[in-house]
Symmetry: C2
Subunit: 245 residues, 2 copies
DNA sequence: GATTTTCATTTGTCAGACATTTAAATGTCT
DNA sequence: AGACATTTAAATGTCTGACAAATGAAAATC
């Protein structure tokens, strides 16, 4: 592990990269302890603050964790699905909010991904998944539910659908996409009629999964996509109509 | 923006979180300059190194960029698809390598996602995408190609398929998944016969896209999934047969 | 032997300083 | 006045040294 002090990049960035490469290449295995900050500083021939900046970069990506005290230090972190999920959501959320991705584009991606889960979920969903979905449908039909709570329940419903596929990689990828869209969905105001429509489609999805009929689920998802896109367009039209610019 | 010095979390982590929240909430907009490190140190009532550690955390997530010099400083970064893509790949790669995700699971997720792209890609693929895919197929049939080069071309082929869908969100999500699998794919040795089989399926995918027939593409992808899973099982069987453990 | 105390190690934080980069301000010449 | 060179100030990047706080292990004590 060597770094080039003449490179234009920051030393801390170079050091972080060197350590990251070591982790990816398997030179550093999970739960292995890195040398102490003082030792790393000596190895890379830099000061301790520089090493610390590098370690913080890695910590921000959940690649390492640090522990204070005698037997403390920096340890290679076992990246959990939860950690990755968190990162994915913040990244995807920012991406959607800053790149002005159109609602339609995000919507299309989301439902395309969900439809990809449908056959697997129809095959493997447990009774638990189904129960969760039914419970969320019931919550969604409660009167007096705020739009935000409705959205949150919507996310939980779709998350159960995705988890039903029994593939953690899919769950991680997809749940991230679904949750990242929530801020955009929250901007929609759901009328009683639109809620009824959505709940009805949710029920059809749950029915399809119960019958293990992927076709039904996909059809309902396609309808739901079209309806969601419509709601998005309505909101856009309203807000552009209300405010002058 | 306030932090609590009595909290168990590191000050730099708290500061990073405070700034991140500001970005997500829109208090800090893209390309806006943050206060200088010295000013931030005063605002949060901490030292400059602590502020710097916080900024490095944010830089590691591509949330900010820093510039040296007179008009320099830390600026809120417009998160690009490329940046997000990079992050996604490293995260997903580590996730696959450290969590011992089975080849089958990763494979299933990958092809489920690709099938989700098929209808959109059939509808929207440009002549360019098709040309890229044909070119990669041609490269794959060159004799003397190393396994690694074959894999790289395979990734390029599938990336063109995904990009053909014309949905940047899908491209970002999916290309990440495909590329993250490359290390696992690289562990497979491709015989001449298996290459022929794969190339044939690639050709069928390209044909399907050319004819804008999503069904053909999906069918070929399903076959390719089955075949890839088979190759993965073979490799597992061989390696477990060769080495004792 | 069990409990308490001490201690060494390590990360977390601070203060101050200097180096380097960079753009803007200033000065100078044509 | 305009073009070019120089200076300057502001900002990040880095270093040194120090102290605080946490923590596990060894030593001391009961």
């Amino acid at each position: 592990m060597k770094i080039d002090p003449t490179k234009p990049a920051d030393l801390s960035a170079q050091i972080a990269e060197a350590i990251r490469d070591g982790i990816v290449a398997g030179d550093l295995i999970v739960d292995e302890r890195l040398p102490s900050e003082a030792e790393l500083a000596e190895q890379f021939d830099v000061s301790r603050p520089t090493v610390r900046e590098a370690l913080k970069r890695l910590a921000a990506q959940s690649l390492i964790r640090t522990q204070r005290g005698a037997a403390g230090g920096a340890f290679v972190n076992r990246l959990s699905f939860e950690d990755a999920h968190e990162q994915q959501i913040t990244t995807a959320t920012l991406l959607l909010s800053m790149n002005a991705v159109s609602f339609e584009t995000a919507c299309e991606a989301r439902f395309a991904l969900e439809r990809a889960c449908a056959p697997l979920s129809a095959l493997r969903r447990s009774a638990d998944h189904l129960a969760t979905m039914r419970a969320e449908i019931h919550r969604q039909s409660q009167p007096g539910l705020t739009d935000e709570a409705f959205c949150a329940s919507d996310v939980a419903f779709h998350r159960a659908l995705v988890d039903g596929a029994g593939n953690p990689v899919l769950s991680y990828q997809l749940a991230g996409a679904v949750e990242a869209m929530q801020p955009l969905m929250n901007m929609i105001t759901f009328t009683a009629r639109s809620r009824d429509r959505i709940i009805g489609l949710h029920a059809r999805i749950a029915d399809g999964l119960e019958a293990r009929d992927a076709g039904l689920v996909e059809a309902a998802l396609t309808e739901l996509e079209a309806y969601t896109a419509l709601l998005g367009r309505d909101r856009a039209a309203q807000s552009s109509g209300r405010v002058a610019r």
